[in-house]
């Protein structure tokens, strides 16, 4: 397919969901069936086009590599803002303009299908799930703008456009989490989600500012090329590391990584299909996608930071998921944990593994969420039938034995659970195995803190298998804990079953690779070659020699690259655009390590997964131990886990409350009493002074005036006495005067 056709189709894919949004928002209830079929139809068209684009892209002959891309992507760019001015960049004056555009490479093509597939199925599922909702039409409109924003993140070739759609995804997530805003829970959760995400976005924005100030462009390819040519922010690779970490902050927010993961479980207040679409399969994967996108520019230190965050996240969330009783909470923490896994994989340099897990996870996690939606839907209807509005339809403790009443939901849920637990023949096994091999190789190459990655990786794999099967056993097996509810449980309608079936089929191994024990030969991993880092020697410092133990005998096949890498080591000249598209020795070393670790990782992963499932089976099916008694014995730990490590409480107590109640109020007080007090004080002082002046004027100045008047008047009165008008008196005065004069002069 020609690049033009692919670009055109991609643009069409991007704007179709927007059209759905605009149409439903404008016409809404006037459309037939309130527009649900139109929206769903549009999404299925989008899906069809996405598949066409994917096939077209993956079957293209590879282009020559450019910095940061194994094969030059198709790009189609337009100038959004052209300022007719220049700015100084790297010592030159370059025109100030902002380009936006789309880019198609394998990463984009696969992601397009993932997003539009899940979105289309969620649309279909929602027809049944949201049936009868007051804001039915608006719901589908919101799904449309979400899909548009998410596709925008995927197809862009500039980091600014990614940020733009990143924020739009934040908006649509806000609208959808808060869809039932009448209730306090969703109202609070939507705000929390947006704000927590904004904190991460802040970091991302700072990173973007750093990149733009340094490179004068937002385009990925231009930024990568400039880094490859040895240009770093503020002239130092440390700042390149910081820029990478800043951009990763965006992923910390959106992909719910520690320490900003707390919004995601609360986001389950939204309708369950939304949870499946946004908070399991696509939006939260945006962070992982972002890391994959900027992967070439991440230095070793930045990647280590990313790996640690991913590892910590997956561990914390995994432990929390064990102790939750709300189905959606279990799935939410499981999502956080799996996202941590993907981030870990990218952080250790296992690029293909991390992104592959994103794809497989999207399928089975969407299936799990929609399955839980199907159960909640049934529970809700049953409770509605019983006029019971107090029982929580999502609480595991009210379920049990549902497999008989809901066979389709059960079967699909089980398949997805097997997939997420890493059981062979399912997609999760393939991707998880890749990640674990990556972590293993990284641990042995890096040593030190790097060893934490494989340990956490296998630990989390076991926890995942355990809590997922705990979920299955408690929901579908055993006897119904509330027979009254169980009596009215029905399987969900076809619109809800079809997406489940499709997604569960997509959770099998053959979708991604015909070899059930290795994804490496499958199309998905093959089409995701790791891009060569543009950071050159600033990547992880391991080379062939360091990775000897892990690389083992496998290195003989690639002696050519070894020689190449050796040349780099001996002469660590500043990397140039020429050399940077060639293999990076450290990445080569890691690739060998992964290859060598593959088998051992697979066996270990099988063991831990079986152990996890076995324990769950023993505890919840065979009841080898009494769960309640055990929980009581480890009560502090259980409370700690079920309270989610107290993250929410800590943030509430130490961040939100002091901030909202103290800082803002202190500022407002300061404003009212100090700043405005000073203003009013000046006014008061002026008025007091004017009052004083008034007094002065009245009593002193005017007093003097009046005094002169009184003075004169007084003398007038006194003197008047002398003016008697009688000659005799005057004569007496004259005589007395003459006598006085006489005495004075003589």
């Amino acid at each position: 397919m020609s690049p033009q056709t692919l670009s055109t189709l991609t643009i069409l894919i991007l704007f179709l969901p927007l059209a759905s949004f605009v149409l439903l928002l404008a016409l809404g209830k006037r459309l037939p069936r309130q527009g649900d079929t139109i929206a769903t139809g549009i999404l299925f068209i989008t899906l069809a086009l996405s598949i066409v684009v994917m096939i077209g892209t993956l079957t293209r002959a590879p282009e020559p590599a450019i910095p940061g891309f194994p094969s030059a992507p198709i790009q189609s760019t337009f100038t959004w803002i052209d300022m007719d001015a220049t700015i100084p960049v790297l010592g030159q004056q370059v025109p100030l303009k902002i380009e936006l555009g789309i880019m198609i490479d394998n990463l984009v093509a696969i992601m397009l299908v993932v997003v539009s597939l899940i979105s289309a199925l969620v649309h279909l599922f929602s027809i049944g799930y949201m049936h009868g909702d007051k804001k039915y039409s608006r719901y589908f409109a919101y799904l449309g703008i979400f899909t548009f924003s998410m596709l925008g993140i995927v197809v862009t070739n500039t980091i600014l456009m990614m940020y733009i759609f990143w924020e739009l995804v934040g908006l649509s997530s806000y609208l959808l989490i808060g869809f039932w805003y009448e209730k306090p829970g969703p109202a609070y959760a939507s705000k929390k989600a947006f704000l927590v995400n904004r904190v991460g976005d802040l970091g991302m924005w700072i990173g973007i500012m750093m990149l733009f100030t340094t490179y004068g462009t937002f385009r990925f390819d231009e930024i990568f090329a400039s880094i490859a040519a040895g240009n770093y922010p503020f002239g130092s690779s440390t700042w390149l590391t910081i820029a990478g970490m800043c951009i990763f902050c965006g992923a910390i927010g959106k992909s719910a990584q520690f320490p900003l993961h707390t919004w995601l479980p609360d986001a389950m207040e939204g309708p369950t299909p939304v949870s499946a679409l946004i908070h399991a399969a696509t939006m939260v994967a945006a962070g992982v996608y972002l890391v994959a996108r900027v992967f070439p520019m991440l230095t070793g230190d930045a990647l280590l930071f990313i790996a640690i965050i991913g590892a910590v996240t997956s561990f914390i969330a995994g432990t929390i998921a064990i102790a939750q009783n709300d189905i959606k909470k279990v799935l939410a923490y499981s999502t956080v944990s799996q996202l941590g896994y993907m981030v870990l994989a990218l952080g250790v340099g296992a690029y293909g593994a991390g992104f592959f897990h994103l794809v497989t996870h999207a399928m089975f996690k969407a299936c799990l969420f929609l399955g839980s939606g199907s159960v909640i839907h049934a529970m809700h209807h049953s409770l509605h039938h019983l006029h019971d509005h107090d029982t929580d339809p999502q609480d595991l403790r009210n379920m049990g034995g549902l497999r008989k009443k809901m066979p389709w939901t059960f079967a699909t849920f089980l398949i997805a659970t097997l997939a997420i637990s890493g059981v062979p023949l399912f997609s999760g096994f393939l991707s998880k195995d890749e990640i674990l091999a990556g972590a293993w190789a990284f641990g042995s190459l890096r040593g030190g803190i790097g060893l934490m990655m494989p340990y956490i990786g296998f630990g989390v794999a076991m926890m995942t298998a355990f809590y997922m099967f705990r979920l299955v056993f408690l929901m579908f097996y055993g006897d119904p804990k509330r027979p009254d509810i169980d009596a009215h449980i029905h399987e969900s309608p076809a619109t809800m079953r079809i997406p489940l079936i499709v997604l569960s089929v997509l959770s099998f191994w053959f979708v991604f690779s015909f070899n059930p024990f290795g994804a490496a030969s499958g199309w998905a991993v093959k089409s995701l070659p790791t891009p060569v880092t543009v950071t050159g020697t600033h990547w992880y410092p391991f080379a062939h020699g360091d990775g000897h133990e892990a690389a083992g005998p496998a290195s003989s096949a690639t002696s050519h690259e070894t020689a190449d890498g050796g040349a780099h080591e001996t002469a660590p000249a500043p990397p140039t655009g020429e050399t940077i598209t060639q293999a990076n020795p450290a990445q080569e070393a890691l690739a060998h390590g992964i290859h060598a670790a593959h088998l051992s990782a697979m066996i270990t992963s099988l063991i831990v997964a079986s152990l996890g499932i076995l324990i769950a089976w023993g505890v919840y099916r065979r009841k080898v131990i009494d769960v309640d008694a055990f929980t009581a014995r480890v009560r502090p730990l259980h409370v700690f886990l079920s309270k989610k490590w107290y993250f929410d409480e800590i943030y509430e107590q130490w961040v939100v409350v002091p901030f909202v109640l103290f800082t803002t109020r202190a500022m407002a007080w300061f404003d009212t009493y100090v700043i405005d007090g000073a203003v009013n004080g000046v006014a008061s002082v002026t008025r007091f002074q004017s009052w004083l002046s008034g007094l002065f004027d009245t009593y002193i100045v005017d007093g003097l005036v009046n005094f002169s008047g009184y003075f004169v008047g007084f003398f007038g009165i006194v003197m008047r006495k002398s003016q008697t008008g009688r000659i005799q008196t005057y004569v007496v005065f004259v005589v007395l005067g003459v006598i006085m004069l006489f005495y004075v002069f003589y």
Binding site: I81, L171, R198, I206, M667, D671
Partner: protein, 529 residues
């Protein structure tokens, strides 16, 4: 250009005022129609001017490239003792800096007229004052002669005083006096500097002193001797500071801002709209039109302090906003925060930052105007603005909520809406100038979202209190008419900002280069910060 566009657009409201004065005060409809027609014509004229505007001419300190120039001798007293010849020109012109402001003023005034229809106390007097205010505002943005500028600056003060003082809320007199005296204090400083500049500047063509601002921007040719003749001298520094305070009061910059919340809370809706939409912009406009080009060396010297002022405004305004329980006061403080972005952007002294700043002036004008209109809508119905007294308006007033979502998210700086574009440019510019203060200022992004979404949760989500069930009705056609144009502009400029940006870039780029060229390298106050 032979047709005196700028005079017509400035004095049309005066004509309208005269007509209103002649009308009987009982003829409400006729009075309102006059105001609508006059401001409507103003909008038309603004559009005509914008269409005829040549965006490739820089203007600023270059008289030949100013556009729509009108220059007539106005006051001329030959040979007075001491003063020599007194010559004041009637000099109006615009460039890329004032063009967006002219459009904004016309637009906001027009919409404010419709928002004024809910005023029912001495309507005739109200519209007389309103139109006078309109003329004053428009004049400020068109005047190039500083004396003329000062006259318009003061003209607008008086009607504002009465509009708040007579048609305002319960504490209107306090607020009006505070506003008036505060601004007047600034005006005194402006007047002093203006007189100083007058006696320093000589127009070589006539040999007389001049108030022409463009002449003042060329000290080498026009300032041979006098108080402000020596660059980098203390008198010029004091003059820059005095001007800064004069304009800072108007913006308002912390700590000169406390008149604003009071004035906003007490002013009627339409006047709040004008106050936030146009009046505040005069402060930043004054800095860019007068302080920066006339005292360029101190614009550079005080770059970092100005950035710090921007940062403080952004963060402090947002923090104060978060603590408010009065909807209008919250918007007033958010205004302070958003004007901080303007200060930050112009302090960047590069074309990105400066363009972001002027674009932010325009965007803040439209977004905050919309926010005040929205507050007015519920105040008209409920007669209270207490944030905690509402809830659940989303279901009761869907269309109103739709407009609110647009305005709120534009204020938060959501991409796709105009606020994002200007904030992004401000940050990109400021980061290049000084990463430290810029990174601190980005806190405003989170804080802004915080108070806006919290407000949205309190007012629109949840359930409607029983007592509002009867009174709260969705927006009326008249209200839609005032809100919709702003929403469209916000959306349009968010998706396609080039029409606004192209108008200003050339001038602002010129301004930046000109200012920077006037400063010796490496000299800056708090430079190491």
């Amino acid at each position: 250009m032979n047709f005196p566009f700028l005079s017509v657009i400035t004095f049309l409201p005066i004509l309208g005022m005269v007509i209103v004065l002649l009308l009987n005060k009982e003829r409400t409809k006729a009075i309102q129609t006059t105001a609508v027609v006059v401001t409507g014509l103003q909008v038309l004229l603004a559009v005509v001017i914008a269409l005829g505007f040549n965006a490739s001419l820089p203007g600023i300190n270059n008289e030949a490239t100013m556009q729509f120039t009108e220059r007539l001798p106005w006051i001329s007293i030959p040979q007075t003792p001491w003063f020599g010849e007194i010559r004041i020109d009637y000099f109006m012109a615009i460039d890329g800096l004032s063009m967006p402001m002219v459009v904004l003023t016309a637009l906001i005034s027009f919409l404010a007229v419709f928002a004024s229809f809910s005023v029912n106390k001495s309507i005739k007097g109200y519209f007389v004052m309103f139109l006078l205010l309109d003329a004053g505002m428009m004049g400020v943005f068109c005047a190039i002669d500083m004396f003329l500028f000062y006259i318009f600056w003061e003209v607008m003060l008086l009607p504002m005083y009465f509009l708040i003082g007579i048609w305002g809320g319960p504490r209107r007199e306090y607020a009006a006096i505070k506003f008036f005296i505060y601004t007047l204090a600034g005006s005194v400083l402006l007047l002093l500097v203006m007189i100083g500049l007058y006696f320093t500047t000589v127009d070589p063509a006539t040999g007389a002193h001049t108030f022409n601002m463009i002449s003042m921007m060329h000290p080498a040719e026009n300032m041979k001797e006098g108080l402000f003749a020596t660059l980098h001298s203390t008198p010029r520094m004091l003059a820059y500071i005095a001007l800064f305070i004069a304009f800072a009061i108007k913006v308002p910059v912390f700590p000169f801002h406390t008149w604003l919340p009071d004035a906003h809370v007490e002013a009627p809706t339409a006047i709040s709209v004008i106050l936030a939409g146009v009046l505040l912009k005069m402060g930043t406009y004054g800095m860019l039109r007068i302080s920066f080009p006339i005292f360029p060396e101190f614009a550079v010297y005080f770059q970092i302090p100005l950035m710090i002022f921007g940062f403080v405004n952004i963060v402090y305004g947002a923090l104060c906003a978060m603590a408010q329980t009065d909807f209008k006061k919250l918007i007033a403080y958010s205004s302070i925060s958003h004007m901080g972005y303007v200060i930050l952007g112009m302090a960047a002294l590069n074309v990105q930052g400066m363009t972001g700043a002027v674009m932010q002036m325009f965007n803040h004008g439209t977004i905050t105007a919309m926010l005040f209109l929205l507050v007015g809508v519920i105040y008209d119905r409920a007669h209270t603005r207490g944030l905690n007294e509402f809830g659940g308006l989303y279901n009761k007033m869907p269309l109103y909520s739709f407009f609110t979502v647009i305005a709120f998210f534009a204020a938060i700086g959501l991409p796709g809406l105009s606020g994002f574009v200007s904030e992004a440019f401000v940050f990109l510019g400021a980061f290049q100038a000084n990463p430290f203060w810029t990174v601190l200022s980005t806190l405003g992004i989170v804080l802004g979202a915080g108070y806006m979404l919290w407000t949205f949760q309190r007012v629109f989500m949840g359930t409607l209190p029983e007592k509002w069930e009867a009174v709260m009705s969705d927006v009326s056609p008249r209200e839609i008419f005032t809100l919709a144009p702003l929403a469209i502009i916000i959306l349009f400029l968010g998706v396609y900002p080039s029409p606004a940006l192209n108008m200003m870039t050339t001038s602002l780029d010129h301004l930046v280069r000109f200012v920077k060229a006037s400063a010796p390298a490496g000299q800056a106050f708090l430079g190491g910060f």
